[in-house]
């Protein structure tokens, strides 16, 4: 018997719609720039064209037959890892490398499910040292260990 065609899941369709909208946006922005003539194409020609291509392809992916089932995933790693990088970006210049690195290590460990304070502290210490030796001393990245 023929297997029933997999139904498109809603999140997938929404994602493809977002892609199509992105393409429309790119095309729109591209059209604000001059197209030029065919003999002398302007800055907007290629981007607008590409935007239209993505719009079209995005719409096509909505109707394409699905190749794999979409499962529900835990959001914790996504949120915590993003938070880790965000905190790093916000603090590395203002509060120094040590704080930023410790934050990254702590948040990524939590994202992975590891909550042992000793392990996190140990790893953070090791990486702060590595960061100091490798990045600040050897590569002369202008970062302060402490503010």
């Amino acid at each position: 018997m023929q297997p029933a065609p997999k139904r498109r899941s809603l999140p997938h369709t929404l994602f493809c719609v977002c892609i199509a909208l992105f393409g429309a946006f790119v095309a729109y922005e591209g059209m604000q720039l001059s197209f030029g003539t065919l003999a002398r194409i302007g800055p907007g020609f290629f981007p607008a064209g590409l935007g239209l291509v993505i719009l079209l392809l995005g719409l096509l992916t909505i109707i394409e037959k699905d190749d794999a089932a979409f499962e529900r995933h835990s959001l914790r790693p996504l949120v915590l890892c993003s938070l880790a990088i965000l905190v790093f970006a916000l603090t590395v210049e203002r509060l120094g490398m040590i704080f930023a690195v410790t934050a990254v290590v702590a948040l990524s460990s939590l994202a992975h499910g590891n909550t042992s304070v000793r392990a996190i502290a140990g790893l953070a210490a090791l990486l702060c040292l590595t960061g100091y030796v490798l990045f600040i001393t050897m590569l002369r990245i202008p970062l302060n260990p402490v503010f």
Partner: protein, 507 residues
């Protein structure tokens, strides 16, 4: 310059202390990250790249290349010993490699892995020495029209050949193209998609994108699928003598190795097709030509030899289009091209004639690297086996650390860290919805180049778009592109027709 002078030049370049040291560092790191599931050559090269800015460009490239081909050796170690492929391209090796470990023949498997990889890589290097300069010569006759057509073919080939939905990969490629255009347009001075952000004037940083898409996204992915198989027990000490094959086994091995190398060399030279496809094809082919295919999957030595020769051959062969034409043969090559550009080297057909020392230095360093890897993989195998059992809850935060520090150090600006963050999140979403992120980088590198060639062709042809069809090489390349685009379409139409017929015949 004759071949011998070139080789001499290469030896002179590759045998300096710096070059040798960094070649070793590269292949060592490569083996290490190859063996570790979770990080691969792509992330490592992206992270190491900013660290290479102070180095001589040739030495930097030697090291980065070493990471790439070294990872193909390392990935197989965990495949064989623990049934945990370190890289996707070595997944096939586990099919027969792990059963050999269970039978206690892991020493032999590792030996075959090392030797096949070495032979595969060496043959591909020979191929490169022969073909790349010749290809560059031909390409010097290319005009912008042919360049555009070749790049288009490369991108379409990458989308349609790399498995998964071709449509989705095309979306990814186009996204990459658009990203590549962000910044100030050199021709008109117009700011494109910068939205007033000063840091975007020079475009988005390649490394930040690579680290986000492949590093962060992969880490989030691994953490989310936390029910990953745990390494089953510590691998035992493996004596050197247990590794050597018997005479009979040697006789069985040379053909699969040669076949695997051939498939790998061919596949690797194609833009977009990489070691993963090469190893799968070599395994499938080997099984088909074998007189005893039922042995495969249970510990057939050919099942280890062929894919291993193939993936190493393909990795070396990927350098051919990259160095001779400036078209990346693989996603990692795209990053390497970016690295070259960052060091002020212009890739393309003029590369080999203009910088013979760099090209031949690289070639010779590939030989050196492969020899180093042979040594690292045989006597030192016990060290690797123990090293790779680092628990992931130490590994993942460490990688995050390197990604954060690495992206900051691109421009000493937190903006790039934000870029990495955004692409990490977006990249993860892509993975969840089955979009492969790799083609984005290909599009990113080729985007500005394609536009330039398009513009130039149209200027020279005074606005006549048919110029792409008038010139024979361009026409041929575009036809192949069209064919590659139509094939999956025809397949799905045929599928639909068969489905309808089956339904009709039932009613």
């Amino acid at each position: 310059m004759g071949l011998f002078e070139n080789i001499a030049l290469g030896i002179e370049t590759a045998f300096t202390v710096d070059a040798l040291l960094f070649c070793f560092v590269g292949v060592f790191v490569g083996t290490f990250v190859g063996a570790l599931p979770g990080i691969g050559p792509l992330v490592s090269i992206s992270v190491v790249l900013p660290l290479t800015f102070g180095l001589d460009p040739t030495v930097a490239l030697i090291m980065l290349a070493g990471i790439f081909y070294g990872s193909q050796y390392g990935g197989s170690i965990t495949s064989i010993l623990l049934n945990l492929p370190g890289t996707a391209s070595t997944a096939v090796t586990a099919l027969d490699g792990y059963p050999m470990t269970k039978e206690g023949r892991q020493g032999l498997a590792l030996f075959i892995n090392a030797v096949s990889s070495f032979i595969g890589g060496s043959l591909a290097i020979l191929l490169m020495m022969g073909f790349a300069p010749a290809l560059a010569q031909i390409a010097l006759n290319f005009h912008s029209t042919e360049y555009f057509a070749v790049m288009l073919l490369g991108l379409i080939a990458a989308s349609t050949l790399s498995g998964g939905s071709a449509l989705k990969s095309l979306v990814m490629v186009t996204l990459g193209l658009i990203l590549g255009l962000v910044g100030m347009d050199l021709n008109s001075g117009a700011m494109r998609y910068t939205f007033g952000i000063l840091e975007l004037t020079d475009g988005v940083s390649l490394i930040a994108i690579a680290m986000g898409l492949f590093g962060v996204a992969e880490i989030i992915n691994k953490m989310t699928a936390a029910s990953a198989p745990v390494a089953s027990g510590r691998p035992k000490h493996i004596p050197l003598r247990s590794m050597l094959p018997s005479r009979e086994e040697l006789g069985q091995l040379w053909a699969p190795i040669l076949r695997g190398s051939a498939i790998g060399g061919f596949v690797g030279a194609l833009p977009g097709a990489g070691p993963t496809i090469a190893s799968f094809m070599a395994y499938a082919f080997e099984k088909r030509v074998s007189k005893t295919p039922e042995r495969f999957g249970k510990g057939a030595i050919e099942g280890v030899a062929a894919p291993e020769a193939a993936n190493n051959a393909s990795v070396q062969a990927a350098f051919i289009p990259t160095l001779s034409l400036g078209i990346p043969g693989d996603v990692v090559m795209a990053v390497l091209l970016g690295a070259m550009m960052m060091h002020g080297v212009v890739p393309g057909p003029q590369f080999i004639p203009n910088e013979p020392a760099m090209f031949w230095g690289l070639v010779i360093s590939f030989w050196i690297g492969n020899v180093m890897l042979l040594i690292l993989n045989l006597p030192l195998i016990g060290i690797w086996a123990r090293l790779i059992t680092i628990p992931s809850h130490i590994l993942m935060p460490t990688i995050m650390f390197f990604i954060c520090m690495g992206s900051y150090s691109i421009n000493n600006n937190v903006f790039d860290v934000y870029v990495t963050l955004i692409f990490g999140v977006v990249g993860y979403l892509f993975m969840v919805f089955n979009f492969h992120p790799a083609p984005v980088l290909l599009g990113f590198i080729l985007g500005p180049l394609m536009e330039e060639n398009l513009r130039r062709s149209l200027v020279i042809a005074r606005g006549d778009p048919l110029v792409f069809l008038d010139r024979p090489i361009s026409l041929a390349l575009l036809s192949i592109s069209a064919l590659l685009l139509l094939l999956p379409l025809i397949k799905s139409i045929t599928n639909m027709r068969n489905g309808l017929r089956a339904k009709a015949s039932k009613s």
